[in-house]
């Protein structure tokens, strides 16, 4: 997109042309009118601040972020003034990217802003300085970061290139879940950044992945729910990366998943975990992992416990995973053994087992599971 660049250079040149035109070429009639017009604009500028270009705004933001970053204890009043300006600038940047209740955003302005943002380290500074900003500025910053992930400059997502070169920023964002004041902001930013497959792969393969099992169970519901949303995004968005991650990390991952999430004392953790497990295992790209999961008697035991829960929603979701054990045509002997031993209990459970809303697919699945279990013969080993 060469157009916005040209336009911008024109505008910068315009600043000088006012005085040049008016002094040297003023005797030429046309130029004179031209310059007069420009001068009147310049005059107006004296009284009403001149609209800044997106590039100016980003540069000014960067300068203030640098100040915020390295002046932890300068004079109070001066500092407050600078932070107030910074908040105002972030608000303006957000309005360029999102528009406001009157106007839609302009794509050229968005592209200029994005390019300048990633040219130097403004993005990093914004993330690092976020805890120093007030709540409104943090929210604006979060929405800016989210939006920048989707901005294309010359049909490239330059945010992705930047993050690949600055992947350590993900470490800051993930550890945000440990700070209640920052968790929702850093969490929302993180979820936007892992839209890029390479970034998601980094987080999946990092040590951070283990921490999510604890973050999901934080006592603050809003933060725990945010961590759960990020966890889900990591494990469902980029199919091939997820399949690769799960097969490489199968043992520790599902050991943690079973013991920490599916057997958690916390109702909401179990409910979210069983739903996500169904989503993961039923995804076609994870079929190898699914087969492996549905061949383990430990897993079956956990699923059968979830089927017996008093919570209807957990029962229904558990059924969607349980059916994989029953439908598996190459059931290991110990799985058959357990199913046969519990046959009458299971069939009794399924007899009056249905979701609140009518669901044909569910009924069909249930009928098949019942047929499978009823027809099982214990195999001699």
């Amino acid at each position: 997109m060469p157009f916005p660049k040209i336009q911008q250079r024109e505008r910068e040149r315009g600043k000088f042309s006012v005085c040049l035109l008016s002094t040297i070429h003023s005797f030429i009639q046309i130029s004179f009118i031209h310059s007069a017009a420009k001068q009147s604009i310049a005059m107006k500028g004296l009284f009403k601040s001149k609209p800044k270009t997106p590039v100016d705004l980003v540069r000014q933001t960067r300068d203030l972020l640098i100040y915020a970053d390295c002046n932890p204890d300068s004079r109070e009043s001066k500092r407050e003034e600078k932070f107030a300006t910074l908040s105002k600038l972030l608000r303006e940047l957000k309005q360029i990217l999102y528009g406001n209740s009157e106007a839609e955003p302009v794509s050229e302005a968005c592209a200029q802003l994005t390019q300048e943002f990633f040219k130097e380290n403004t993005f990093r500074l914004l993330i690092v300085c976020l805890p120093k900003l007030n709540l409104e500025a943090r929210k604006d910053a979060t929405q800016i970061v989210a939006n920048l992930q989707r901005q294309q400059v010359q049909s490239r997502l330059i945010a992705c290139d930047y993050l690949e070169a600055n992947i350590d920023l993900m470490d800051i964002l993930v550890s945000g879940y440990e700070d209640p004041d920052m968790a929702l902001h850093y969490g929302a930013m993180l979820r936007e950044c892992i839209r890029h497959q390479t970034v998601a792969r980094y987080v999946l393969e990092s040590e951070h992945m283990k921490k999510f099992f604890d973050y999901i169970q934080l006592p603050n519901f809003d933060i725990a729910a945010d961590a759960a949303a990020t966890f889900k995004e990591l494990l469902t968005r980029h199919k091939s990366t997820v399949a690769e991650f799960l097969s490489k990390n199968y043992d520790w991952f599902f050991a943690e998943y079973n013991s920490k999430l599916l057997e958690s004392p916390n109702y909401i953790t179990r409910r979210q975990a069983i739903k996500l497990l169904g989503d993961i295992l039923l995804d076609r790209s994870n079929s190898a992992v699914m087969t492996r999961y549905a061949s383990s008697r430990d897993n079956l035991r956990i699923l059968m416990n979830l089927l017996r829960e008093s919570s209807k929603s957990i029962q229904i979701e558990a059924f969607h995973v349980f059916k994989l054990f029953a439908a598996n045509q190459n059931k290991p002997a110990d799985i058959i053994g357990i199913l046969v031993a519990n046959r009458s209990k299971l069939l009794r459970l399924f007899a009056d087992f249905k979701p609140d809303k009518e669901d044909e697919q569910f009924e069909a699945d249930k009928a098949q599971v019942v047929r499978e279990i009823a027809g099982l013969e214990p195999r001699e080993n």
Binding site: L135, R150, L184, P219, F221, R271
Partner: protein, 338 residues
């Protein structure tokens, strides 16, 4: 200076996580899958309101619940009801919120002002609601359920817009979404473009509902509030927009009528934004919180007692086999959710 310090201290105040830190008192509100209780925070003896939402009841979507809890905790505006914290207790979500001792404007109308409020009160309430909408719209949120039932009054007469249960964020997913296209809200207050579901809708849908709310505060009920939901939809789409045109509306000023009419234009692009509307001449007569406290709250029984009285009244009417008005309205006033 003192105010600044006080503000910071309030900001720093933490509310404990865990049901054992709170003592529940009487129920003060009820929805499809949630109830609101008055309660005491045992750590600081402060009276709070707790919304208890049953994850297992009704069609409760976890994603919506999570989003609402996050929106409400990140809200920081004097006219928007925020939550202090939220946590899971068994099958329930507990959301700790400030206690609004005055109750809702709907409740106030029903119990004490069945013919509507006087103009200066309306202007004061509506200006505060507009400030709330300006703030929410700025952050990309559409409230989607603006009505007297969601306008709450504190013991000091402060006005807060509550219930972000069905609010949506146009800035969700890092992108300005062109528009929303889901059937959400409460029929009587719903803008025509929300009902039509043709081209989607944006912030301006709240301005329509705001206009309907203005009529509600003026008359004591929303237009069409006695009709069943389907009829309300048809009337909103087919009839001319409602306005302040009752015989009894002669008492209201011209600017009030103009302000309301500017919100209730069927073409959303012709409605003013919240920011623009705030500059309307009508709001010049808006007064302070003290005024609201004096005019509406002085000498009233507590909200718990008021609700008890209202329940009693409805039960008595049921016993006489009359369908109470409240119940008729309840049918057309139930919110739709995504």
């Amino acid at each position: 200076m003192f105010d600044k310090i006080k503000k910071r201290l309030i900001g720093l105040k933490k509310y404990p996580i865990g049901a054992e830190h709170y003592e529940l008192y009487e129920e003060i509100g009820q929805g499809v899958s949630a109830s609101v209780y008055r309660a005491k925070c045992l750590d600081n003896d402060e009276i709070v309101a707790i919304k208890v939402l049953d994850f297992e009841r009704g069609n409760c979507d976890l994603n919506n619940v999570s989003r609402e809890s996050q929106t409400m905790i990140l809200v920081d505006h004097p006219n928007v009801l925020k939550s202090h914290c939220s946590f899971v207790n068994d099958h329930n979500l507990w959301v700790i919120m400030p206690f609004m001792a005055g109750g809702s404007c709907l409740h106030m109308l029903k119990a004490f002002h069945p013919e509507g409020f006087e103009e200066a009160i309306i202007a004061t309430i509506l200006r505060e609601v507009l400030k709330a909408l300006e703030y929410l719209h700025h952050h990309g949120h559409i409230h989607r359920d603006v009505k007297a039932g969601n306008i709450l009054i504190s013991d000091q007469g402060a006005i807060k817009l509550g219930d972000l249960g069905v609010s949506a964020c146009l800035f969700d997913h890092g992108d300005r979404q062109r528009a929303r296209n889901t059937f959400v809200g409460t029929p009587c207050w719903m803008a025509p473009e929300v009902m039509e579901q043709l081209h989607g809708y944006d912030f301006k849908a709240d301005i329509w509902s705001f206009g309907i709310t203005a009529l509600e505060l003026a008359h004591g009920h929303a237009p069409f509030s006695k009709y069943p939901p389907m009829k309300v939809l048809l009337m909103t789409l087919q009839n001319a927009p409602p306005g302040l045109d009752y015989e009894s509306d002669k008492k209201f000023s011209k600017s009030f009528k103009q302000m309301t009419a500017s919100c209730l234009v069927k073409d959303p692009s012709k409605r003013p934004s919240a920011t623009k509307l705030l500059k309307h001449y009508f709001f010049k007569q808006a007064r302070t919180n003290d005024y609201i406290a004096r005019k509406l709250l002085e000498g009233l029984p507590t909200i718990g007692d008021r609700i008890q009285t209202m329940k009693q009244k409805e039960e008595d009417m049921l016993a006489q086999k009359k369908i109470p008005d409240g119940q008729k309205e309840e049918i057309s006033q139930a919110s739709f959710c995504e």
